[in-house]
């Protein structure tokens, strides 16, 4: 459930949309970041242990930033090939009882909603359910799970960098067909999540980033506003410090906008029925 306290923030963000849409025609020229990411190609593959994918260092152009800023660098890292499944998470709560549905501290998860799609503390449903991505987990729970595996949650930058890839290209973020496909996928998300194996594999070998569930990132609570929000009359210094520094640098990337808007409604204890996670290292 989204918390009310986040709504005004989400509203501030949303107000920027018509502006972004109106300026969508002003497509930026191919950025240096795209070339850098392609130039950084190196062997990519699934590792044996824990089914992780090696991602090469590269860079990408974030949705929010000043136009003209250099692309954001992303160092080499590893990312789980698949989102964490209910079966995976069951093994975790067996070993860590404080993260079971009946025991979790309310500070760390909205108790009424945490793992609410499970039948019980240790009952995820049938075999097919065990293969679905775990959802209705809070950021705190996702972090605890990753830590227990010796991993961590990916950052926004890492996640977005990988998410720019479609099935054949590492940077398809501005390809009209891919954009259209993602908008359709996001609008069709429901509480009935598909099994992980049905996820599409992208050019890096990462599965189901877009077609399964929303995913937590470690720094989901990075601020994001635009100073061109019309209804609040420019820089809203009342809500944000240094808010004038940030604006949507890439208005053509609607799917990224949707992801940022989604994250804007979350707090650390929030759970959502279509929000899961995967770990990085």
């Amino acid at each position: 459930m989204l918390h009310l306290r986040s709504l005004s923030l989400l509203a501030t963000l949303c107000l920027t949309l018509p502006v972004s849409a109106a300026s969508a025609a002003q497509r930026e020229p191919a950025s240096g970041g795209v070339r850098a990411a392609r130039a950084a190609d190196s062997p990519v593959g699934v590792t044996d242990a824990g089914a992780m994918v090696r991602l090469p260092a590269g860079s990408y152009r974030p949705l929010y930033g000043r136009v003209g800023d250099p692309p954001t660098r992303v160092g080499a890292f590893r990312l789980d090939r698949d989102p964490v499944t209910r079966g995976d998470f069951l093994a975790f709560v067996r070993q860590h009882p404080s993260w079971r549905r009946s025991a979790v501290r309310p500070l760390f998860a909205d108790r009424a909603a945490y793992l609410s799609n499970w039948a019980g503390d240790l009952d995820v449903g049938d075999a097919a359910d065990a293969r679905r991505p775990v959802t209705s987990v809070s950021w705190f729970a996702a972090r605890a799970y990753c830590r227990a595996q010796g991993k961590r949650l990916p950052t926004v930058a890492e996640w977005e960098y990988v998410a720019a890839a479609d099935a054949s290209s590492r940077d398809a973020a501005r390809e009209p067909l891919f954009v259209q496909h993602l908008v359709t996928l996001y609008s069709g998300r429901s509480r009935h999540t598909p099994e992980v194996a049905t996820g599409a594999i992208n050019a890096y070998g990462v599965r189901g980033l877009h077609d399964l569930v929303w995913e937590w990132v470690d720094d989901f609570n990075s601020v994001l506003v635009s100073d061109d929000s019309r209804a609040v009359g420019g820089r809203d210094h009342s809500l944000f410090c240094a808010s004038g520094a940030i604006g949507a640098a890439d208005p053509s990337n609607y799917p990224a906008f949707l992801r940022y808007a989604f994250r804007a409604g979350l707090t650390g204890a929030t759970t959502v029925s279509a929000l899961g996670f995967r770990c990085a290292a």
Partner: protein, 207 residues
Amino acid sequence: MHRHMKLGIVLLILGTLVICASCVPADAADDTGDSGRDQRAMAAAGPSLYDLPTTWVTQHGDTIGLTSLAGRVQVLAMVYTNCAVTCPIILADLKRIEAAVPVEQRGDVGFVLISLDPDRDTPERLAEWAAQTKLDPARWTLLNGSDDAVRELAATLGVRYQMQPDAEVAHTNQITVLDRTGAIAHQQIGLGEPAGITTNAMLTLLR
């Protein structure tokens, strides 16, 4: 334009209209003196913030857990000392709240500033800044923590922040009032406090 994309945009704009209905009063607040930005008074006895297993270093160099804040009503904000624009306003708000505390109850209220810029806001720097801004060490605690501790506290309070390339930290301006157990009693989001709602929330807890 592709049909699906057009549909998606229409849906987004519709969603914007619905959601933004809630933020109109915030802008109207300037005219009416009513405060749309003073958000909700949360239900009492929520989870304690002090359950966060994080450790911090105070401006005096002491290492503490958040539980050491228990027992007093605490008024919290996340700021950074190099902030030129809004943090002085937050500080002014906090000092106004402080001034409203009845003299005989001054020992029952604490003020906590947590740095969003722990690399530069060392405990020494925090001490220096506390002296410059004349914060009474009997009541004011300034905290330096790891990036991780700051991230977790911010995620719990609903504070959003991001380091900027020019070394500014963009962040939400927010003041939180905690009851004596560390449960969030009230949050003010945005600056200025025309109706004194945050002050009243604190005074209510002192009764």
